[in-house]
């Protein structure tokens, strides 16, 4: 989820029909610039180089959301909100389930009501327990082939996730809850909220964000039962 307003301009987005680095490319109707859906960054066009501000969002079963927010509104299918309109849509839900191959999974107990931050990558789904991030605000998940660094947001209510690539990150410093990372190889310092190197040899480099959603373990597990856990 992104804020559509950049500076004094509010953009509306459409689906371009194109992919880049396995990313869906959005376009804005105002300038026809191309935007990578997973990072919110404009990769082409008049607004190339701009980045949309990510807005934290949650994911859970409809029933759980309704119980938590009884007055909630819910998006209606365009063209009608009857039960029959659901049949007009192909079932894309199952195609969003990513297969899991050769991942390490943790067995054992986890509190079903625990808050987790969930994300999906080509390697599969992962659930990071928020309690783990209260102990240390930076965690790493995945394998050498696909490493993801997870960084708690300043108030620790959720976290952002980024593909770490070959970088090995550790905490550099913290201030007002904000976290700066350091990569082991060059010692460059990175803003943990933006995933961007702010000093050192790699200054200016940006990590690719993995969209991550605050959820409940029992919710996330029901949709992605093969999730790896980070506790």
């Amino acid at each position: 989820m992104y804020a559509r307003t950049i500076g004094d301009r509010t953009l509306t987005f459409g689906v371009s029909g194109m992919l880049w680095r396995d990313n869906l490319i959005m376009y804005d109707r105002q300038t026809d610039s191309w935007w990578a859906q997973a990072t919110g960054g404009a990769i082409q066009g008049k607004l190339k180089g701009s980045t949309l501000t990510a807005v934290p969002s949650e994911m859970m079963a409809w029933k759980q959301w309704r119980d938590l927010h009884p007055g909630t509104l819910v998006l209606a299918p365009p063209g009608g909100s009857t039960r029959g309109s659901r049949d007009q849509y192909a079932s894309y839900h199952s195609s969003n389930r990513i297969g899991v191959t050769g991942r390490t999974r943790f067995a054992g107990e986890a509190d079903p009501k625990a808050r987790i931050v969930g994300f999906r990558t080509p390697a599969g789904a992962t659930a990071v327990f928020l309690d783990a991030l209260k102990r240390t605000p930076v965690l790493t998940a995945g394998t050498d082939a696909e490493r993801v660094v997870i960084v708690a947001v300043p108030d620790r209510s959720t976290a952002r996730a980024f593909f770490a690539g070959a970088h090995e990150f550790e905490v550099s410093r913290e201030g007002d809850g904000r976290v700066w990372l350091k990569d082991r190889k060059t010692g460059s310092e990175w803003d943990g909220y933006e995933g961007r190197a702010t000093s050192g040899a790699l200054a200016g480099q940006r990590l690719i964000e993995v969209p991550a959603y605050l959820s409940y373990w029992f919710s996330w597990r029901s949709f992605f039962p093969d999730s790896a856990l980070v506790k």
Partner: protein
């Protein structure tokens, strides 16, 4: 999202899957076109109903939820899968909801 594009591509082409075509390279990697612009229609004018009127969402299906300015809104992932993007405004904040 790649899987969703492939399914949409198969649904929208009458014949066997049309090939992806390379448009240009950006930062060394190709931008590939699989569908015409807007073949997957984003929602530009979202309409909402209260929870008790929502007979089209199942209890156990995932929704993306947000609370802004005291107002709670949910977007079911099956609608997000079909439309990819919802351009919405809550209070005075304009947001793009994607999944």
């Amino acid at each position: 999202m790649l899987a969703v594009m492939m399914v949409a591509l198969a649904v929208l082409s009458a014949a066997p899957q049309r090939p992806w075509t390379e448009e240009i390279k950006v930062d060394g990697d190709p931008v590939m076109r699989g569908l015409p612009k807007d073949a997957i229609p984003a929602i530009d004018v979202p309409v909402f109903v209260p929870a008790d009127k929502a007979d089209f969402v199942r209890d156990d299906e995932p929704v993306i939820g947000v609370v802004m300015g005291g107002e709670a809104r949910a977007y079911s992932t099956w609608l997000l899968n079909a439309h990819e993007i919802v351009n919405d405004t809550i209070g005075n904040r304009s947001i793009a909801v994607t999944w």
